[in-house]
Symmetry: C2
Subunit: 130 residues, 2 copies
DNA sequence: ATTGGAAATAGTAATGATTACTAGTTTTAC
DNA sequence: GTAAAACTAGTAATCATTACTATTTCCAAT
């Protein structure tokens, strides 16, 4: 009996599945509280960690000091806007080749990688052309 | 007169140049205090930020919750050991092509990327084979 | 060389994301 | 039904980093 059902965890997972913008724990908390008014922030954090440990969701450390979460666990890369901070999915060819490249002259074992691209998102790009 | 000389900044930069292990602000603080006993942690943080803003050093956000700093500003990639947490330089071919790949089907502007590889370093790899 | 003011410093307090703790509640295997 | 294990809400603690403040240092112009 490793894992027990919890309504809170279900609601958190369900909410995350409706979003494609990689919300932070705090954003998840704010939203989930609409349907589940007295859920605790600690519960949100614990379940997000649990779900990502189980591989049901992904934790994104994009380098802005706050963890983001993604219900889409299929392999894909992310873009982070330097202006507005939004985290966006990238549609691009597979680049797993870089993992091979990294392992060529390395004495340890490489299990994976994370790649984040940054710059200006489409919306911020337009705004700054005035 | 934008930037003024400071002995503290010089000592911090000099120390960082002697290290290839990408120390954290706290490690820099501990070590610099040997030659400069009453330097403040805030001064270390402020100068590390200043130096990286000027492009003299690099700030590495490897996703372990602590910033690491690197005096080597030439383009290269990093490996993070999942076991011991050490951050190691990788000797590998240039992979800037992934930035082109990311920009192909993207409406914004891509200015750069960060790629971190993870797994077991050579030393931890050996220890876990018992 | 003196000096005025901008930039830097030490020391400390504040911030903010995340984790830990605790007493009580829910789930579930028997 | 029941008991143990897992979970929860609420709160306190942690820890990296930033902000604040009174004082000191650097340096360009006199």
């Amino acid at each position: 009996m490793a894992l027990k059902y919890s309504r809170q965890r279900e609601v958190i997972k369900d909410f995350l599945c409706t979003r494609k913008d990689h919300p932070t724990a705090d954003v998840v908390y704010m939203n989930v509280r609409q349907q589940y008014p007295n859920i605790s922030l600690g519960t949100v954090y614990r379940n997000l960690t649990l779900l990502s440990d189980m591989g049901e969701i992904m934790r994104l450390r994009v380098g802005d000091g706050v963890d983001h979460f993604d219900a889409d666990t299929s392999p894909h890369n992310h873009f982070v806007c330097s202006e507005c901070g939004s985290v966006i999915d990238l549609k691009m060819e597979n680049i797993d080749y870089i993992q091979e490249a990294a392992g060529k002259d390395f004495s340890g074992r490489i299990d994976g990688y994370t790649a984040y691209f940054y710059g200006l998102c489409g919306s911020c790009c337009g705004k700054l052309q005035s």
